[in-house]
Amino acid sequence: MEEVLYVSGKALPHITPHLEVWGSVIALYLFFGGLAAGLLFFANFFYLKGKADSMPMSVKVAPIIAPIIIILGSMILVYDLHHWMYFWQLFLHVRMESPMSWGAWTLSAIMIPAILWSLSYLEDTIEYLQNRNPKCKLIGLFIWANNLIKKLPVLPWIMVLFNKNKKLIAYLTIYLSIVLGVYTGILLSAFNARPLWNSAILGPLFLTSGVSTAAALIMWLSNDHSERKMYSKIDLFLIAVELFFIIHLFMGMLSGGVAQVEAAQLFLGGPYTAMFWVLIVGMGLVVPAILEIMELSGFHIPIGIPAFLILMGGLLFRFIMVYAGQASGFNIL
């Protein structure tokens, strides 16, 4: 009988289940990062196109979500550090070789324009909400925040400066939002030891996925028919690009070395196959694409359904990539 048996002394309770190093918090953070990057991209892009008044949801209202999820994402990220009391060490070092280092700097940098952008449109947001849904409980909170800001010492002066240079800042924020979106993928792709992640296409793939979730969210929140229709078209385009990138991800891995082929097998017959193809490619990309095509060709479909599917697909995609990536590796036996 052919025998192959390995026993490792490392099978100690705290050592080998080191899959737990990165878990759901990282996946959630990557989702928040991509979503915020997309929201800020659309807000600044359509502002520069001069559509601030015709597309109030994308330019004025939706970007208020961005700073909230960026701050929330950063907080859960710090909480996830095992030595979190030393997190400030991140900001004493600039290490261009480490994606996590420049990611931390990008995240801090984009937080400033994201907060100021939503503050500069706080009054418009209140007005928008009052017109659309006067019973919304958030209105009271926003009014309170708006009054508070006016009382603060330096902030009104900063806001004047911000509004004066808004065009320049918009160009800068677009650039930063793309860096943030790509970073969520590059963070994973920098690890040679995890062959599933070790593909340069992960950066553009995560960027596209993040922007597509943002488009779905804006489409869901907007009540303007033409704005919705446009985001439907944008989403369709982004889904096509994502499918294209996913095919290329597998093509690249299948033509790679043994470790990469084995990593691809996790999704092509391995334990993540059903989850990936049914939940992410099926429910998260193909079904919403079909629903949006039907919507655009005249069928009446509640917009919440494709939007929800795209958002869930984006979230699950990050969960599966984080967990499956850690299941791939080199043969070290």
Binding site: H18, L81, Y86, F191, A193
Partner: protein, 178 residues
């Protein structure tokens, strides 16, 4: 100077003395280890079954993905190519653990990342590493690769050797003698 270790898979009996010596020398917390034994049994029973042991630890690679991905510079290389972690610079993000193909790092219960240091505190006093000194079969050989007369240089010249996952491109410095 380039420190390296060779490990004779033919001499090792898998007693785990190196593991215990390391845990004692470096105060490694209970349930964790910086080095470990891998036992492999291969072949067709009963004619050609072979068993061999490997004592593994951080490979102190020449091309270090752990140092490259560390966001704070806590993971760094000291003289002799030894890879070390500065505890109060480490934020415990786990990037180096993801980056290591050999799974040589672990998170210490205090939060920082910990790993083999080639006992640099012992080397500074002219001693060998704890695992090398304690090995009852002398299967662990340590020394300076830049010195052709060092025990490790001689062992690598005299015997056939291999390294783990050379395709990862990390140029590991723990050599296994066949």
């Amino acid at each position: 100077m380039r420190y390296a270790m060779a490990m004779d898979t033919r001499k090792c009996v898998g007693c785990s003395d190196c593991v215990v010596a390391c845990q004692t020398e470096n105060n490694v917390p209970l349930g964790y280890c910086r080095d470990w034994i891998v036992e492999a049994v291969k072949g067709t029973y009963p004619e050609t079954v072979q068993m061999h042991f490997k004592s593994e630890r951080c490979m102190h690679c020449d091309n270090t993905p752990c140092v490259r991905t560390c966001p704070t510079g806590a993971s760094h290389i000291i003289e002799g190519g030894i890879v070390k972690v500065t505890h109060n610079e480490c934020i415990g993000c786990g990037a180096c653990i993801e980056a290591c193909p050999y799974e040589a790092r672990y998170i210490h219960p205090d939060g920082y990342v910990d790993k083999c240091t080639f006992c640099d505190h012992r080397l500074a006093q002219g001693m060998n590493t704890a695992c090398v000194d304690v090995c009852p079969t002398s299967c662990l050989i340590f020394g300076d690769l830049d010195d052709p007369k060092s025990p490790v240089s001689k062992a690598l010249q005299e015997k056939d050797w291999y390294v783990l996952a050379p395709e990862a491109g990390t140029k590991p410095q723990l050599y296994f003698l066949k």
